[in-house]
Amino acid sequence: MDPARRTHLKHLALYGASVLLPPALWRESAPPASTNAEDKPERVEEHWFTGGKPLFSRTPLNKLIREQPEVIFLGDSMVKAWIDPEKLSALSSQRVSTLWQPNSTSSRWYLMFKNYVIRSQVRPRRVVFLFRNAFWHLPAYKVDGPFWHDIERCMPEMNDPVITRILGDQRRRDMGKVDRFISEDAYPVQQRQDQTANLLEATAARLIGQDPDALRPLINDRLGFTRFRQTLSVETGYHTGLQDAPFTRDPAKTFLPHLIDLARKEGIEIFMMRVKRRPDSGTDSPDSPEMARYISDLTTYFAKENIPFYDFTPDPLINDTMYAEGDHLDLAHTAWFSEHLYQTLGKEIFSK
């Protein structure tokens, strides 16, 4: 090799090392992991290259073991926004817990039930699943990219046979080993993204002389879901993918039959509960005809399977003034709804 080329190669190597290494070494100053032992994920297999599935979060498991609930409400952020476990515990004199993950859909609800509720051996007598739209029949919704990480955190095993059976190809398309290695192991500094985004927003607010904390709720309200144009509300809300996933009982296509079988096998009584989506101003019901048809099919299915199903959508007492953002109730009405729920369905859900 001629000396000039050797020099160029050295320069290129120096450039590569100088650019790629320092951010990889930026570990000590990365935000510290939670000091709470429960938050520490369990690494089942450490080595990324051999295909180890890295994470299983024990936090929910430990929560259930600690709380020993008799009744559990399980689902996505709707659980947090609609259920006040303390209020319900006080009203029913039973230990009530919630188990929820933001942005979760039926794949994770199945895994949370299997790997937390059942694995904890707490054996609650009843588990109430909260949902709001067609997620039971959109099994592949929110399972790719970073969502796959969240799914894996609910899986202690390498593969879950039901997940593999239902999601199949979808799983292969998700974040691969190399993506994970880069985002979690090689450059943990990326965990600072939330912090830097917050810093950027706080700086922007201060630049115009505003308090970022005071401005945030104003922005959330002004640019929130309820302000969406009608066409967008339909696209992003009630119809998400419904056309592609018509109602089906095929166990290879939804998690419902697997969930029901598992509950029966473990002797846990399950309930399905649908919360009311924020009604559009001027309309009584937030359901489109397609969604109403879907819910009707779902009701028939639950009736056949002998699963109690309660739909709060037609409830006239729940109105649009009670909501904070999107379909989430505001804090005061979370407590109100818990009381309302107890009065309406207390006998069914909390009877001894």
Partner: protein, 460 residues
């Protein structure tokens, strides 16, 4: 395949390593195979019109040389077939939808339902590139390419295939035909350019997109909120499109090719004509050379010159998309440039006034470009700034400030490019490249947007 994905990074590294191991003919075949793989990665069906265009234009150019007496006929066939293909995929739905609308207004039964067609990505780019080659051969500016594989690589070269720059045959095809060497002395420069492109896309464009998308999603935007969204979109579209060009130029550079610059600080333009000398340069020069000048350019009467300008911009608007808002956007720019030409060399405001004024006019254009709903577009133009509540001004101020913070690297780059670069002729030495690249890479890692979208110009 999209640039800002690991798939592309691995694909490119593999192509790069193999490329420099092969002789020239092998390089052509490798790049051609890689380009077809790159293009067919999302949908193999896209390859059908693509290969058809390639083979057709190659054959027509050869026939032009073989039958000089029929050159005009072959040109006509080329233009008709290329534009027909483009119209079939891109404008068919638009035409039928409008005809259906007109029929419905007269109470007539609408036409049968449309067969939904997915427009192949970048069809407008490669059609124009391929067509310009045939026109250049027709005009005698160059000889027809002898080999189909060389020509196919010119049309399909993956770094610039989907969103340009729209290269001309004399520039890119000539590079395909020559033996290239690895750009040892410029390698770090091209790598830095790629990193700059990633920063523009995944930090600036994607973060600004969150703001713009939100504003254009709500039904009751007030004056300040709307214009803060337009401002965010102005930054988004510049960052997004120039990111694509930067990554394309960087990738091509490492493969030994030199692609043309597509942007030259467009928001520093001081007049409408100046803007188009700085924005999407490869398209504006294409429009000038293949549409405006053949129409007569600035020759003839003033009315004729004005007509030529407006017509050229109308076609440019339609090139961007099959929707009335793009036509309106083209008309708007046509009128601005025509007015600018009519004003001639009379008094002009100083840059301190002209540049912000031009940016404001550009933003009005972006509003037409971004808002696809005519009802809302009309509503936007009727907004009254004096009736907006104070909280909306605060929110808009926040959104604009956030966008401005995000755009800081673009501002610094312009400042450096225009004010400082000439004072530091040796700025691109290795230590500077390392520091710059390290800063870019770190910023990408810690500021990347949680939601990433496809490049805006992919749809064209």
């Amino acid at each position: 395949m999209i640039f800002h994905s690991l798939d592309y990074v691995f694909f490119f590294i593999l192509v790069l390593l193999l490329h420099w191991q092969l002789p020239r003919r092998g390089q052509v075949w490798l790049l051609l195979g890689a380009s077809l793989y790159f293009y067919g990665y999302v949908s193999r069906a896209w390859l059908i019109p693509f290969v058809f265009t390639m083979v057709l234009d190659y054959t027509i150019a050869r026939l032009m040389e073989a039958q000089p007496a029929r050159r005009r006929l072959w040109l006509l066939i080329c233009i008709t077939s290329n534009t027909s293909l483009l119209c079939w995929f891109k404008y068919r739905g638009f035409f039928i939808e409008n005809i259906q609308g007109i029929l419905a207004n007269f109470g007539l039964a609408p036409a049968p339902e449309l067969l939904s067609l997915i427009v192949p990505a970048g069809i407008s780019f490669y059609t124009f590139q391929s067509m310009s080659y045939v026109i250049d051969v027709y005009r005698g500016h160059m000889l027809a390419c002898r080999r189909l594989d060389d020509y196919a690589l010119f049309v399909s070269f993956f770094p610039q295939l989907v969103a340009g720059p729209i290269e001309r045959a004399p520039h890119l095809l000539s590079q395909v035909l020559t033996t290239r060497t690895f750009p040892w002395s410029n390698a770090t420069r091209w790598l830095t350019l790629i990193l700059w492109g990633f920063l523009l896309k995944v930090v600036i464009a994607d973060h600004s997109a969150l703001i713009a998308n939100k504003v254009f999603s709500i039904r009751d935007a007030t004056f300040p909120i709307l214009w803060s969204g337009v401002f965010a979109f102005a930054i988004q579209i510049l960052a997004d499109f120039s990111a694509y060009t930067a990554i394309a130029r960087g990738s091509a550079g490492l493969l030994g090719f030199d692609l043309m610059e597509n942007f030259r600080h467009p928001y520093l333009a001081s007049s409408p004509a100046d803007f188009w000398r700085r924005w999407h340069i490869s398209l504006s020069t294409w429009m000038r050379d293949y549409i405006y000048i053949p129409l007569g350019g600035s020759r003839g009467t003033k009315a004729r010159a004005t007509r030529n300008v407006i017509l050229t911009f109308l076609i440019s608007g339609a090139w961007h998309g099959a929707a009335w808002n793009f036509i309106l956007w083209g008309l708007y720019w046509g009128l601005l440039v025509a007015a600018d030409q009519a004003w001639g060399k009379r008094w002009r405001p100083p840059p301190l006034i002209a540049v912000p004024l031009m940016f404001a006019l550009t933003c009005i254009g972006w509003l037409m470009f971004r808002e696809q709903d005519a009802h809302y577009l009309l509503q936007h133009f009727q907004l009254n700034p004096w009736t907006a509540p104070t909280t909306d001004w605060h929110i808009a101020g926040f959104l604009a400030a956030k966008t401005l913070l995000l755009a800081t690297p673009i501002i610094l780059h312009a400042w450096w490019d225009l004010k400082l670069r000439h004072r530091h002729p040796n700025w691109d030495r290795l230590p500077t490249q390392i520091i710059l690249s390290l800063a870019l890479f770190t910023l990408i890692l810690i500021l990347r947007s949680p939601e990433s979208s496809a490049f805006i110009y992919f749809q064209f």
